[in-house]
């Protein structure tokens, strides 16, 4: 097993440092000087020649399940996601508590690469664990649980005596212009986000948790997602979305706890105490018209995002992580970054920041048109939905050029519970 807080302590001398981290570090502290090489190239080169023994140190690939916060939020993004929303069918509060206890136990085991329940010794019983992850390591599996607004109240009914605990923030999103939401991709009383570097491991997790829930909760909708794997991008460059653009460049630094407390983790006084150290999750299933995009000129594509496709830099800048200059104009007096460019509209005055942790999806074809049903399973974490996500999405829905190429088909919001210590269970602060 790797040491529990490995993620926090990774240094520049370790192969696990991404190029981006090095660039960031160089930007603030001058790592080049620190390691006696000149500049960033030096730092990268050094990382590249480190002995393989050091590169391999995370072969157990275990992300600690227990802690102050749930894993899967500040965790470095894994290769795959399997996201599931559930409707609770149980009517009794104790049953619900029981479910969370069982889920906690199973999740803790699976995130360590262990199987669920007892070993299958009795040939006359179906095995506890479904088996497809046998012999596989955890592949950085994280399992993140959330509760939706309808767990608290549904049809004006206080379902589990939780009504008074419902945060003001936790309610269905307003309808945004151009939304084309479909019932089959919307809402949920509970959610499970399983992320792993192996899709089979992620699916196994949700499958077993859904099995444990049988009789208490049923699947409402589910979606698998992917991004380029770490194997395919050893330098861990920013992944590209299905429109071919680097996606995830601008995000709060998950290793900076001050920033995370400011933008992601719910703080005392924000709302009900049970959610302190938790966060709000917004998920939108956004279909991308990739055929239409593919016949769009490069110039239009870049103007749509406000970034260069190749480098990922903001228009008018050179490198991916250079800061934007929204006032910069070209020789014709036009803004480099058009007024309707996605990054300009999303950025706004820069005050709202969200942690985006999205994945691409590709679900066969749209039966109606024969085109791909592919897009983005957009997921963001934020301390406040009303102050962060909503204002951004409101602007985007009104003037983002990207709206020509996408349509929002699904939507849900959840409060991701705080983390627990060993011996506790996810949801204990809510039910106590």
């Amino acid at each position: 097993m790797s040491e529990p807080d490995k993620k926090e302590t990774t240094s520049v001398f370790n192969k696990n440092v991404s190029r981006r981290d090095v660039l960031k570090a160089a930007g603030i502290g001058g790592v080049g000087v620190l390691i006696g090489a000149s500049g960033i190239g030096g730092a990268l080169a050094l990382a590249d020649v480190l002995p393989t023994s050091q590169k391999k140190e995370n072969t157990n690939a275990v992300v600690p399940f227990y802690g102050k916060h749930q894993a899967g939020i500040a965790t470095e993004v894994q290769n795959h996601i399997y996201f599931a929303a559930f409707d609770v069918t149980a009517e009794d509060r104790n049953e619900l508590i029981q479910l969370f206890k069982e889920w906690t136990k199973a999740a803790a085991a699976m995130t360590e690469g262990k199987s669920v329940g007892d070993p299958a010794n009795n040939k006359y019983l179906p095995p506890d664990d479904t088996g497809e992850a046998a012999g596989l390591n955890a592949s950085n599996l994280t399992i993140t649980f959330g509760v939706g607004p309808t767990l608290f109240t549904k049809n004006n009914k206080d379902r589990f005596g939780l009504q008074k605990k419902q945060p003001d923030e936790l309610k269905e999103l307003p309808k945004f212009p151009l939304d084309s939401l479909e019932e089959q991709w919307t809402g949920g009383d509970l959610c499970i986000q399983a992320c792993s570097d192996d899709l089979q491991v992620a699916f196994h997790a949700v499958r077993n948790l859904a099995r444990i829930a049988r009789g208490k909760a049923v699947l409402r909708w589910a979606q698998a997602g992917f991004q380029r794997t770490k194997q395919a991008s050893p330098k861990k460059e920013t992944p590209r979305n299905l429109f071919g653009f680097k996606d995830g460049t601008v995000n709060p630094n998950v290793k900076n706890s001050a920033e995370m407390n400011q933008y992601v983790w719910v703080q005392p006084g924000d709302g009900p105490d049970w959610l302190v150290n938790g966060t709000y999750l917004v998920v939108r299933r956004i279909q991308m018209f990739i055929e239409v995009w593919d016949r769009t000129t490069l110039k239009e594509q870049e103007n749509t995002f406000g970034r260069y496709r190749d480098s990922g830099a903001y228009l008018g800048q050179k490198n991916e992580f250079d800061p934007p200059d929204f006032e910069k104009k070209d020789e014709n007096g036009e803004y480099y970054i058009p007024m309707t460019a996605h990054v300009r509209v999303a950025h706004g005055d820069g005050k709202q920041k969200i942690l985006r942790r999205s994945y691409s999806y590709a679900d066969g074809i749209d039966a109606k048109t024969g085109t791909f049903d592919a897009g983005l399973l957009f997921i963001s974490f934020q301390r406040s939905i009303s102050k962060q996500f909503i204002p951004i999405q409101k602007r985007l829905s009104q003037m983002d050029e990207l709206n020509e190429y996408i349509v929002h088909r699904g939507s849900a919001v959840f409060a991701c519970l705080p983390g627990v210590k060993k011996g506790g269970y996810i949801g204990e602060t809510l039910f106590s």
């Binding site: 309808k175 212009p177 239409v292 593919d294 769009t296 036009e334 109606k368 602007r395 020509e404």
Partner: protein, 283 residues
């Protein structure tokens, strides 16, 4: 309608960063982006732009006329006549879309679908469409008809100011087909009257007009591409011909799933080579 062109009317209430006039400017000047690539052909692209402008303005003139007839039928309370005039009138707008929709503040007023704008602001063709087909009435819709006449007249006046560039034409041709792919072919455009096929045809014709104007330049550069595009246009028209009925087209609801898919795919097959029109521009 083009989806992103909503900002101006909606934007009044939002952020400080962009003022209305700015965002207005950004969309109306889109056609005027001057960094237009250099011409590399003997064919005079400026002449093509002028010709296109003439075409588009003629369409919009006709659009104003037909819209007035339509709106007057609504005001007169003649449901049947209004229903008859609805789809053919819209075709002029759809044909000249690259120009007609360049006005961010007018397009949503004329052509927003339900849900595209807040309900209180929703007017224009599709609002009246809902009255005619869902409620089978014109009662209460007179005010929308009156406003629509004003808006299309304003559009006609503004069109004079549009600067048509080869750049605009090239993206415009494909945009017209993208409109078909993302809303007409799914039946989401005319969701109450189901006259989507009229809009569909008009968008294709609009794209074809641009192609026609560009084709001498294209043939100089890439004869094979020109030929491919022409064949694909024919294929689309051949499909559409099957759904002709009288002077118009059958209802979208009469199409089978397979027919919708076939239409959708034929548009994609046309749009792909058409998106290479840009070869006539260098760079």
């Amino acid at each position: 309608m083009k989806r992103y062109k909503l900002p101006v009317i909606l934007f009044l209430s939002s952020s400080l960063l962009f003022s209305c006039s700015q965002s207005n400017e950004s969309s109306t000047t889109e056609p005027a982006k001057k960094e237009t690539a250099k011409e590399s052909s003997q064919v005079d692209l400026n002449q093509i732009s002028t010709d296109y402008r003439t075409f588009a303005i003629a369409e919009i003139d006709e659009f104003v006329k037909k819209t007035e007839e339509f709106a007057n039928a609504v005001i007169a309370g003649d449901v049947e006549k209004a229903k008859e005039l609805y789809a053919p009138a819209r075709m002029h707008y759809e044909r000249s879309e690259p120009i007609a929709e360049a006005f961010a503040e007018l397009d949503p007023k004329i052509d927003a679908r339900e849900g595209d704008v807040p309900d209180a602001e929703w007017g224009g063709y599709h609002r009246i469409e809902k009255g005619l087909w869902v409620e089978n009435t014109t009662k209460g819709y007179e005010k929308y008809a009156e406003q629509l006449i004003k808006d299309v007249k304003l559009l006609r006046a503004k069109v004079e100011t549009v600067d048509v560039t080869p750049d605009l034409l090239i993206t415009g041709a494909v945009d017209l087909l993208n409109e078909v792919s993302t809303s007409k072919v799914t039946g989401e455009e005319d969701r109450y009257s189901h006259t989507d096929l009229y809009d569909f045809v008009a968008n294709v014709e609009g794209a074809e007009k641009i192609y026609e104007l560009m084709s001498p330049a294209l043939k100089e550069k890439d004869e094979a591409l020109a030929k491919e595009i022409e064949q694909r246009f024919q294929a689309v028209y051949a499909l559409l011909d099957k759904y002709k009925k009288g002077d118009g087209y059958i209802s979208y609801t009469e199409l089978t799933k397979d027919q919708v898919k076939e239409l959708s795919q034929s548009i994609n097959e046309l749009a792909e080579p058409l998106s290479k029109l840009g070869v006539v521009l260098e760079g």
